[in-house]
């Protein structure tokens, strides 16, 4: 045995050409940054679309200058048509759920930091990893291309319920080519995420360095690992669903369209398809997907908190078990999205039970965070603020889940703004806060420069207040009977709600603008930020013990690190201060579990 790394499975020589270095790179760190860039572009587009929708919701006949540039006939005189509203809504949600909430916390940070945190030089299948990003990128282009073909993107909502999604052109603008491009994009996206999951799982199981037992993994690594297991199963089910949907369009099959379906006064040439089949397949993916969006955030936030609390979580292991339980249970609850779908009412009962059970691990996670924070001298910085914000949003949005979980209550609340409020807080905003916490925390390692803390705090407070101002009223709207996915509020009983919608629109514009502070901070710090040391947060995990910052091509230089400790050796006395790094052979602990 020699001490070179040449025969190592994930190892490859440092590239020299620009293309291999920055474009078709095999380096997990570059791929992680590419994913981050994609997510950033996607989130800005998604946010822009949401502004257009909000303007329309507040002032229905408002002409938005230039709107006609986005659509062939969706904005005569720059006033949004109802169909175009739905197209924007569908694209907003698809972009956000798939290309932001799945890519940023999981694929971007996971790619960059999972291999480093386990002490590896790279992922085991770098070519698959590169493909994973580029396939996802192509999926994004395919989705965006639907803005430019025929009558625009699909208007069926991110859930694409059949039969509307499967009848084609007759269903409305975008229901022909738009849906096909949507389904194609998502099917391609699935391939990318499956390749990613393969790498994440094998990295965690096989690439851990000496001394890195599973229980010594930081919580962020656990988050990514658990998520990759969910991704592997969830995306493997969504892909067949998309294939069948495409076939209903291009091959004239009848998987999802029932016989005698009349659409816009036209009898559809389909026989015997099942609309519920789509819902089953979609939600079997869809519910795990919402956990795919949030569990990496839970991991990131835990990691950030432990570092800033300077003490371990109340129980590292219980937290890991709880996240694992969320993953397992997330497969048993998907029917709670279908309580009023017309499926057998007994199934509603059957799905309601695990849905209530899944609140238990969620609650345990939250209680561990709160209990650990209790009495901790938390260092307040942008990263830890966003971590706290994550917890706040997760609780505020999770509480409404308890109500929705009961079929009898859900009958009232289903398809209202109550549900929209629920998932924007618990999934949308919480996951975004996880991304922000991760960005402020890891930026110094990724770019060798610190982000501006003052701007970070301004960004936090505006986002925190803004998100509540936007999404809390949604619950009220829902209770008042405001149905979701309506582009205008014509019925009498909704008239009094319009001022509230105006308020929400103003809050959304304000909060969105505050995100530009973040983007500014990101770009300016990238070039002008204060230079960062190797370990600016006095953290213990392996990403902070790389020989250079940013880490060299093979992460650790000539030798892989050896791990001696848990990742949470804080609040101890050691030669370095109040912490012992995982790579330090020093023994300094009262709570060294391993």
């Amino acid at each position: 045995m020699h001490d070179t790394a040449h025969a190592h499975a994930g190892q490859h020589a440092a590239p020299t050409s620009f293309i291999r270095k920055h474009v078709f790179s095999l380096d997990h760190k570059v791929i992680g940054k590419q994913y981050y860039g994609l997510a950033l572009a996607a989130v800005l587009i998604g946010m822009f679309l949401s502004w257009l929708m909000r303007l329309h919701l507040g002032w229905t006949n408002l002409a938005i200058p230039g709107l006609h540039l986005l659509t062939k006939n969706g904005a005569p005189g720059d006033v949004m048509t109802p169909e175009f509203y739905l197209q924007l809504m569908t694209m907003h949600a698809t972009i956000m759920v798939f290309f932001v909430l799945t890519t940023a916390p999981f694929a971007a940070f996971g790619n960059y930091f999972l291999p480093i945190q386990v002490g590896a030089e790279d992922m085991p299948f770098p070519h698959f990893n590169m493909m994973s990003f580029w396939v996802t990128f192509v999926a994004f282009l395919v989705l965006m291309s639907s803005f430019f073909v025929s009558d625009g993107p699909t208007l069926g909502g991110w859930t694409q319920y059949a039969p509307l999604s499967a009848v084609g052109q007759v269903g409305g603008p975008g229901e022909g080519a738009g849906v096909v491009l949507w389904a194609l994009s998502i099917a391609i996206f699935c391939v990318g995420q499956l390749l990613g999951s393969l790498n994440f799982i094998t990295t965690t199981l096989d690439m851990r360095t000496r001394g890195m037992s599973l229980w010594r993994l930081p919580l962020s690594a656990w988050g990514w690992f658990i998520t990759s297991v969910m991704g592997l199963t969830a995306f493997a089910v969504l892909m067949p669903a998309c294939i069948l949907l495409i076939l209903d369009h291009v091959a004239g099959t009848s998987f999802f369209v029932p016989a005698n379906t009349v659409m816009n006064d036209q009898m559809q040439p389909h026989s015997g398809g099942s609309t519920l089949l789509w819902q089953h397949l979609f939600w079997f993916f869809g519910h795990p997907e919402v956990y795919i969006a949030i569990v990496p955030g839970m991991g990131i936030v835990s990691h950030v908190l432990v570092t800033n609390m300077r003490k371990p979580m109340l129980s590292h292991r219980v937290l890991v078990y709880a996240m694992g339980a969320l993953a397992v249970l997330s497969y048993m609850v998907y029917g709670h999205h279908m309580f009023v779908s017309g499926m057998n009412p007994v199934s509603s009962l059957v799905f309601s039970f695990p849905t209530l059970v899944i609140t238990i691990p969620s609650t345990i996670v939250v209680l561990i965070w709160m209990g650990s924070l209790y009495g901790a001298k938390l260092r307040i910085n942008s990263a830890s603020l966003f971590a706290l914000g994550f917890i706040s949003m997760f609780i505020a949005g999770g509480v409404s889940g308890f109500f929705l979980a009961q079929p009898s209550i859900d009958i009232m609340l289903h398809a209202t703004y109550f549900v929209v409020g629920h998932f924007h807080l618990v999934m949308g905003v919480a996951a975004m806060f996880g991304i922000f916490a991760g960005t402020y925390f890891w930026f110094p390692k990724m770019y060798g420069r610190m982000m501006n803390e003052t701007l970070g705090k301004i960004h936090f407070w505006c986002s925190f207040v803004g998100a509540y101002a936007i999404f809390m009223p949604f619950h009220y709207l829902g209770l008042a009977g405001n149905v979701r996915r309506y582009q205008a509020f014509a019925p009498e009983y909704m008239q009094p709600l319009i001022p509230l919608h105006k308020f929400i629109t103003i809050a959304a514009l304000f909060t969105g603008a505050a995100q530009l502070v973040f983007v500014y901070n990101l770009f300016v710090s990238r070039y002008k930020g204060e230079p960062a040391s190797d370990n600016p947060w006095q953290a213990t995990s392996l990403e902070w013990s790389t020989p250079t910052t940013p880490p060299p091509h093979n992460n650790f230089g000539d030798t892989l690190p050896v791990v001696y400790h848990d990742p949470f050796q804080y609040g101890v006395e050691s030669s370095t201060g109040d912490y012992v790094m995982q790579t330090s052979p020093e023994k300094a602990s009262a709570h060294d579990e391993s």
């Binding site: 790394a5 025969a7 094998t202 001394g211 089910v237 029932p258 015997g272 398809g273 397949l281 001696y564």
Partner: protein, 224 residues
């Protein structure tokens, strides 16, 4: 809290996939440093874990198709009987034979300087046989589709034919992927860079295709 400094463990060389893992010469790797009970052995090469991950996700995909078939069958009265073309049974035997040939290859291979090499010309002959038979299977499937088309049964004719084409086509695509894997094995064996884990992974995948096919055949035979 007392601060004890421990002797740092000797830094060993890094994992060397050609030597370490449960392969032809595992063992002799107990380099556990001082106080690290967690590290017992070096970890296995990723391909031997990765293959199970891949097979798990393929299983999920076909489970999804299966449940789609069952739900669709129960949802309407347009389910018709479809007689499977007889050539499918021949194809099954061809696919089995291909697996058998791959096993024969695996037995005729030895380790050379970190890579695997064919023991004799025999080994590569068996490998080419596996490849050819695999290709033949795909051709056979194509013939089955042609026969159905000749009976006027197209993809969209009725739900049964839809599922028949979709399931067999997705399976055939996976088989084509496996053929790509076999080609890769042939190339790597040629220049002695083939690892045991790669060969094993390819073989598991290939045998899994058999099992999957038998499952699909039984499913189609029972349901269509």
């Amino acid at each position: 809290m007392a601060t004890t400094v421990h002797e740092p463990p000797k830094i060993e060389g890094q994992r060397d996939p050609s030597q370490s893992h449960g392969g032809f010469n595992s063992g002799g790797q107990d380099l556990v440093p001082g106080n690290l009970p967690a590290v017992k052995r070096y970890s296995p090469p990723p391909a031997s874990t990765g293959i199970w991950v891949v097979l798990a996700s393929i299983t999920m995909t076909f489970a999804a198709f299966t449940s789609a078939l069952i739900v669709r069958q129960g949802s309407a009265l347009d389910w018709r009987h479809l007689t499977l073309p007889n050539i499918l049974y021949v194809n099954t035997l061809v696919l089995f034979a291909s697996s058998f040939a791959l096993e024969m290859t695996r037995r005729r291979i030895r380790v050379v300087a970190g890579g695997l090499k064919a023991d004799s010309v025999d080994a590569s002959r068996w490998l080419y046989a596996a490849l050819t038979l695999g290709l033949l299977f795909v051709v056979g499937q194509y013939i089955a589709w042609a026969q159905l088309r000749a009976q006027g049964l197209y993809l969209a004719t009725n739900p049964n034919s839809s599922f028949f084409y979709v399931l067999t086509a997705v399976h055939a695509l996976h088989v084509l992927g496996g053929l790509g894997g076999l080609l890769r094995v042939i190339r790597k064996m040629g220049n002695s860079t083939l690892r045991k884990s790669t060969l094993d992974a390819t073989a598991y995948y290939w045998h899994f295709m058999d099992g999957l096919w038998v499952y699909l055949l039984v499913l189609l035979w029972m349901k269509l």
